[in-house]
Amino acid sequence: MTIFLGNLFLLLCLIFSISQFFTSQKKNRFRFIAINVNGLLICSFLSFSLLIYSYVISDFSVLNVFENSHTTKPLLYKITGVWGNHEGSLLLWILVLTIFNYFIFKFYNNDNSNFITKTLQVQGLITAGFLLFTILTSNPFQKTVSEQSNGMGFNPILQDPALAIHPPLLYIGYVGFSAAFSMSVATLFLNGDQKIPWYSYMKPFVLTAWTFLTAGIALGSIWAYYELGWGGWWFWDPVENASFMPWLIGTALLHSLIVVEKRKSLMAWVLLLAILAFLLSVIGTFLVRSGILTSVHTFALDPSRGVYILIFTALLGGYSLILFGKKSKNYFDNNYFALFSKEGSILINNVLMIVVCATVFLGTIYPLIIEAFINKKISVGEPYFNSTTIPIIIPAILVMGVGPVLAWNKDRKREIFKKILPSILLTIIMTTLIFLFYQSYNLIGMIGIILGFWIISNNIILLIKKNRNYSKGMLIAHLGIGLLILGITGSSNWQEEKITRLKVSKSTQINEYNIIFKEINEIKGPNYIAIEGNFMVYDKNKNYITNLKPENRYYPITNTFTTEASIHTNLSRDLYLVLGEGNLNDGWVVKVYHNPLVIWIWIGALIIFAGGIVSTSNNLKKIKI
């Protein structure tokens, strides 16, 4: 029954999406489109709910449930397990697509009907493409061949609250860019002969996409940090890059949209960025799901899926980019920018973001290019990415500090200096304080801290002044970036690592802490057994700080081992402890990290998210009027 209904809803979705594609060309289309948009939303919601329901009641006659779930799994992870696998995650992707589809439709009125219907037509095509992909190569509603009493389990490393909401946030990001993509195509298609403020429609979608993508990436990092037990939070893995590239393009897009709004300039550029942001999201999906690159994210691989996504990407990209090539000259302008103006700074930042994105893209696909041409396998890792991206990001952050303070059109240099003097002073004071506190000096670290405080003081001063010329959301988001920079700088420059073998009752030191290995116990969890170390932490004055209890878990159902790092966090540092292999006679391998300022990365990301939400709601209000 479930199988039948699930397939029925999927099929109805497909029919509605194809019909949306065709009916949007007709006259008197409003009612047709309304039926399609609502039908699509309802059917995708029903099919998604149905899959969730099958997971909740552990219906192992559904192959997808049998392969990815188990009766002993906690309810929360049964539900989140729906998108923890390839097929289910596609269903979620489709649900998000149809929700965005619905919101685009909500903007429909008599003045913009051509623009919105054209946008919905492109959305219909994208939705149909993903639905076909799901039905043909990755159908979650398939029948289990023989009767099964229990499921095959679930990768325990994915049982983590951060990872549970990471995919939905990420998909809102990717799919939000699809709306911008469709609007860009619609704008190009309509030739600019209708005076529609397409950029005002595009902006809330881009803002939403960017905001949620930021949060999604941050949660992925949190997961890697807490769950993988490697002591770090970013590894330049292809999957991470796949989400980081659309983020960079999205950042550029978001800021250029403001220039379009205020100065009617950079239009062609924005149209291109909107196309690229979504294409990069799809290419990222291709790289990860086709198995063409190896990465820490393991999805079941199937070459036919790769071919399908590739054809689909070629279709979308070919159509939109050729359209851009032919039509974009309608959107050219001859406005010249003064360097010392808001739009000037935005343009510089745009260029820098694109360069970073191109650098990351090159690093990600370089092994593939080399393999295609000289048939050799190489890997590009952290050293490449760090040494190429950081020097480009540093000037971008400097400009980011000045940009918001500058006026539109042109600003006098003297005026600028007056405006930024308070933040220069504040930066100097705060930087001096932090170096007195940490007493550790190196060039990159110093630059990072100064830049971080530079951004923070600029935005705090503007927030306090309550100047109505500045968007509050922007100031909050920029403040978050400042905090993020502090966290990134601290944790990557001053991380200390100690790997040692410890017997029970012996101790080790890191930074100013003394860590005593007190005991080791066996414990039992709901669907795992574990050994748990108990470590007492004292500071240099022998004051008791905390107990750290890292675990090594064994999940019998899937036969996997995971390490649970134990972390003590405060505002200035994380103490991160991982238990390795060992026994009572020889002791255990213990990895200890002292990671300064990590918490500020997460706080920063949260504040950016808040800023994004504030901005989005303000922009939505603007359109309604």
Binding site: T294, L310, G317, L321, G325, S328, K329, K377
Partner: protein, 176 residues
Amino acid sequence: MKNNILILPSIIFFLILSIFLYLLIIDRNPSEIPSNLLNKNTPIFEAKSLFKNEKFISANEFKDEIILVNFFATWCKPCRDEHVYIQRFADEKDLKIIGINYKDNNKKAIKWLEDLGNPYENVLIDKKGKIAIDWGVYGIPETFIINSNGIIMYRNVGPITNKIYKKINLIINKNE
């Protein structure tokens, strides 16, 4: 002039896609991960054997003939899938096959080999995964081919499929 530049994004786009397409359709295996051990001597180790009473000393064994080393475990589902190919190597080829039983239970391993057939000339016990670390094993299953000079010629991460089976056959024929 200006118009020509505008078509540039689509050209770059299609160039990149054609590289992807090429890599998708050629006979390629992303799990063939380059190993530092490739073209080098096998790591030196000693291990207990699952069936034999004598200790296995690698220095005495990896010489004079082609050897296939296969890391496997009873708890690993892909190992079960590739087992037919290991069996085929044992039946069809004149080569020594050594199994390394990774982080496993001895009783289960013996039962498993009784059920599925035992293609291995010798099965070594790697209860703590130490041998696997020396060999730089990524995950189970993993397979190595060693030539008669004790040098590692080939490595495959993941289960042996039909494609890889043919490839390994070619390598063995070349080295014979």
